[in-house]
């Protein structure tokens, strides 16, 4: 298992019940993390979109994660 620390913003902060969570994923890709997250927090599936940022940039589902990465949940943005 891989342990990732994940920051949450906007509506995902409400869903996770806090600014940060720690998730155990079976693999090392963003897709693996996404599966682990939606299993732990099923309400994430109801969002209009959910991107995952790694080290301050949007990451594809195929990107490989390291446990030291800064990982964040990016629900639909609404700045401006």
């Amino acid at each position: 298992m891989n342990t990732f620390r994940v920051k949450a913003f906007g509506v995902t902060k409400d869903i996770l019940g806090g600014k940060e969570t720690v998730v155990e994923a079976s693999g090392k890709t963003v897709a693996d993390l996404r599966s682990a997250l939606t299993e732990k927090y099923p309400k994430l599936v109801g969002l209009r979109s959910l991107f995952i940022a790694v080290n301050n940039s949007y990451a594809d589902d195929t990107a490989l994660l390291q446990e030291s990465d800064e990982i964040a949940l990016i629900p639909p943005v609404s700045g401006g």
Binding site: G10, L47, R48, A53, P75, V77, S78, G80
Partner: protein, 150 residues
């Protein structure tokens, strides 16, 4: 308004935005045109009275994404100066949420570049807005059933 050297700015701030400062920062002696967009909090949304708004940013990433947008814009238009300032925290109706200014040699490119920056900012930059009404609150655009706000 051009008495300082060209100095650009990306700012995420919980203080009121000084629009005049944003314009001055973006201005350039070589430019003939400055276009400025100011986004303000409306006193109503979806027919309901907005009491206040909460803006939240993933600040380090937001600054990086704004920089990418400016880089893209610089390749498409001859930007001579620019500045982007976005407010976070609690905002009341009438307050400035975002100000973007660009200066270019001629006017059409100033409109195009400023609109591109704003459109892309709203699409890509990790900033979130929660509207607080008298009878509830809502993270804007988060869920499919909620109308997209612009």
């Amino acid at each position: 308004m051009f008495n300082q050297p060209l100095e650009n700015m990306i700012k995420i701030t919980d203080k009121p935005i000084d629009v005049q400062k944003v314009i001055e920062t973006a201005s350039s002696l070589n430019a003939g045109a400055v276009n400025v967009f100011v986004g303000t909090v409306r006193n109503n949304a979806h027919g309901k009275n907005v009491v206040w708004l909460e803006y939240e940013a993933y600040e380090t990433m937001a600054v990086g994404e704004i920089r990418k947008i400016i880089d893209d814009a610089s390749h498409r238009w001859p930007l001579l100066g620019w500045a982007v300032s976005h407010r976070i925290g609690t905002l009341k109706p009438g307050e400035v949420a975002v100000a973007v200014a660009v200066s270019t040699p001629h006017r059409r490119e100033s409109f195009d570049a400023c609109e591109y920056i704003m459109d892309t900012l709203k699409e890509k930059v990790p900033i979130w807005k929660k509207e607080v009404f008298e009878d509830g609150e809502e993270w804007i655009s988060a869920r499919p059933e909620v109308a997209v706000n612009s």
